[in-house]
């Protein structure tokens, strides 16, 4: 893109002045610590004891650590479970609140409330709702289904956590879709309607293609977030990760091994590096898939 804004003198220092505060904060408090994590992943450092260089020993140990594979399985399942829901449901919700009918502003704001609340509050609310004697089970019992151990069964726990992630994410992605839908030319819909296409056909043949790039964006953002999931599962399954630790996710494992006074900082750093690498790959995969479809 051609830009007319070129003055040599300005180019020399102004841009850097603009970017300086952001770079300084990010560099000092994010990138520098992250580089230290990379370095630590090659040592056997503990929380209170200095480490020695151990090469790739931590990464080799990972391969033989059952918990690592459990964590990888759960984090991957989380991506598979949560991402499709977060790509599709908020889009449907956006279509529902798109039309300018009376009171719609209220509904839009209300649907956004779960995003505003902190994850800890959200965790508390849902632990209480899904408690063995909480609201959901009371209702289930009243209608004769009986109580369900949402928070005690390995798979139900993981599913419940996913449901909470989706619940909290709905409003966020809904807004992104709303903005994208605003740019869909209405002629497309009208043409399809004239052709006699029903709502479902119109959705698939007009809406979806029109917001496809936004769907890709949502897929990328939500898959990275889902792979790094910590709070929802930690809050619902407890620090040790549900029955026999079977609900442990990778970031929970990072937290468990690396923290406290006896934390294995080196090993936990190696785990962090793996998490980082996988998220970068996930991001690239999604973007690559997008590009391929376009060509």
């Amino acid at each position: 893109m051609a830009t007319p804004l070129r003055i040599k003198r300005q180019r020399l220092f102004s841009p850097w002045l603009f970017a300086a505060p952001g770079l300084l904060v990010t560099g000092t408090f994010v990138l520098y610590p992250f580089v230290s994590t990379l370095v630590n992943s090659l040592t056997d450092r503990r929380t209170l004891l200095p480490g020695h260089f151990v090469g790739l020993a931590n990464f080799r140990e990972l391969l033989h650590d059952d918990m690592f594979w459990t964590g990888l399985r759960n984090s991957s399942l989380y991506v598979l479970g949560v991402v499709p829901a977060l790509v599709v449901l908020p889009l449907l919700l956006a279509l529902l609140v798109q039309k300018n009918i009376p009171g719609i502003t209220f509904f839009r704001s209300a649907f956004y409330t779960p995003v505003v609340a902190s994850i800890v509050v959200v965790g508390l609310i849902w632990v209480w709702l899904l408690d063995e004697r909480g609201l959901v089970n009371s209702l289930l019992e009243t209608v004769g289904i009986g109580r369900v151990g949402f928070l005690s069964d390995q798979w139900l726990l993981l599913l419940s956590a996913m449901a909470v992630t989706v619940w909290k994410g709905l409003g966020y992605y809904m807004i992104i879709y709303l903005a994208a839908l605003a740019n869909v030319p209405r002629e497309l819909h009208e043409a399809a309607a004239v052709d006699g296409a029903g709502p479902v056909r119109r959705f698939l043949s007009v809406t979806v293609p029109a917001v496809r790039s936004t769907m890709v964006l949502v897929a990328a953002l939500s898959s990275v977030a889902a792979f790094k999931v910590f709070s929802e599962v930690y809050l619902m399954a407890g620090p040790s990760g549900g029955p026999a630790g079977e609900d442990t996710t990778l970031v929970m494992l990072v937290q468990r091994t690396g923290t406290g006074l006896t934390g294995r900082v080196g090993y936990a750093s190696a785990l962090s590096v793996v998490v980082f690498a996988v998220t970068v790959v996930l991001m690239l995969l999604v973007l690559r898939a997008d590009r391929r479809e376009e060509t």
Partner: protein, 428 residues
């Protein structure tokens, strides 16, 4: 707030600046000498005591400052959750307060990193003022020395629900006294209630193995040993209970809070507790309170389990005399006694448990529980080995769960847990 919040402390601990704050056994400097004048500004950190005991600590500090006009104490209190994370950040960053409320498992890594003052050197004269068992609880296998003043002790009876016992055809006035009784009663309870009422709500922890008479570590303190025949026997019994629903089906994900709630609502027939719980029953479950039965902890060893809190002195403090004097002041007989009168805890100072407050009945249940607990404390043991870290606890918990679910035999599960714990111990 809720269980959760030891939030994302994560991986993170990832980087402690090289050596800046750590390093072990750094006994250099004259700071180990506690014999100077008691003066200077020191910081005292407690663990979730401000909410309920603010006036007590303010008086305590005022008393100390009055006694030593040159000294000034700043009190900070940290919330319950995240305490180990807070300590590790401070320890790594060199901002540990001068006097710190710790428990034995927290003091062990700090002592190994040379951050806790050895009281056998700095304050040996105070040793005789405390119960020998309590003093020893802050000693660490593999190192010499004692790294914290013992502070308050806690132990408690076993509560049981007499109404549920009656319903299951058990004598409500004959609670189980031995493990054999306990297991038999629990199975009967499950059978008679069609699996609706469990007797136990928690999977066995390391202290349960200790109480059952399983040797937890080898004699040298260099490795764990709870996978012996006795340990396997205990876990096999628990597996039987779990299969019969005599151990609550949700025990695998239980927390102390959730099992307390289950007892409160009559889903579980027995629960360990303390004198503190009686008030809670009275208020939140009057029906249960009428039927509450109280009995001693079941052990095969004759020694009840106790929890110990300690007060540690930072070895890097600039005011060693003041810090040591204050740590002792907080934990001396007079102040522990007045603290014990405020809340259901027990002093660790020699002779305090003979105070009439801990020996004379006045007809109330609270007093009865207090007297029984004080009596059992005289030979109680802190079963949890100080070297048993959080990571080891999680490993044991997960292996026990696998055994209960039948994914591993009890023997395999305990072998795995011991192997993991030993590996972590060697790396530590």
């Amino acid at each position: 707030m809720p269980k959760s919040r030891r939030t994302l402390a994560a991986a993170a601990v990832a980087l402690i600046l090289p050596l800046s704050a750590c390093g072990s056994g750094d006994d250099d400097g004259g700071t180990q000498d506690a014999s100077g004048k008691v003066e200077g500004d020191i910081t005292f950190q407690t663990w979730n005591l401000r909410a309920n005991f603010k006036p007590y600590f303010e008086d305590l500090i005022a008393g100390f400052e009055h006694k030593y006009p040159g000294a000034h104490v700043k009190w900070v209190d940290q919330p319950a959750e995240g305490y180990p994370d807070k300590l590790s950040a401070d320890a790594a960053g060199g901002t540990l307060p001068d006097v710190v409320n710790v428990s034995p498992d927290l003091v062990a890594p700090l002592a190994r990193a040379g951050l806790a003052l050895d009281l056998d050197k700095a304050a040996a004269s105070f040793k005789s003022a405390y119960l020998p068992g309590a003093w020893a609880s802050h000693q660490i296998p593999g190192t010499s020395g004692t790294y914290a003043f013992p502070w308050y002790l806690n132990t408690g009876p076993l509560f049981y629900n007499k109404a549920l016992f009656q319903k299951a055809g058990l004598d409500p006035d004959q609670p189980p006294k031995t493990y054999d009784d306990l297991f038999a009663d629990a199975l009967q309870m499950a059978r008679k209630s069609d699996g609706k009422v469990a007797t136990l709500a928690n999977v066995p922890t390391i202290e349960d193995f200790g109480r059952y008479g399983v040797p937890l570590m080898n004699k040298e303190g260099t490795g764990f040993a709870f996978n012996d025949a006795k340990g396997v026997e205990l876990l096999t019994e628990y597996k039987r209970l779990y299969d019969a629903k005599a151990l609550d089906p949700q025990a695998l994900t239980a927390t102390p809070e959730s099992s307390g709630k289950k007892f409160l609502t009559g889903a579980v027939a027995m629960n360990p507790g303390s004198a503190l719980d009686l008030g809670n029953f009275k208020k939140n479950a009057p029906g249960l309170y009428k039927n509450i039965g109280i009995t001693d902890q079941i052990t095969s060893t004759g020694h009840a389990n106790m929890y110990v809190m300690g007060v540690m002195v930072n070895s890097r403090t600039e005011h060693t005399p003041a810090a040591v004097a204050f740590a002792h002041f907080v934990t001396d007989a007079q102040h522990q006694m007045s603290f014990a009168r405020k809340v259901a805890i027990f002093p660790s100072t020699a002779g305090s448990l003979d105070d009439p407050y801990f020996t004379e009945e006045d007809g109330t249940d609270e007093t009865r529980v207090r007297i029984a607990a004080a009596k059992s404390l005289k030979n109680a043991v802190n079963y949890t080995p100080v070297l048993f870290s959080d990571q080891m606890k999680t490993a044991l918990r997960n292996e026990v769960a696998k055994a209960l679910q039948g994914k591993e035999s009890p023997k395999e599960a305990l072998d795995n847990a011991v192997e993991t714990a030993d590996r972590l111990l060697r790396q530590g």
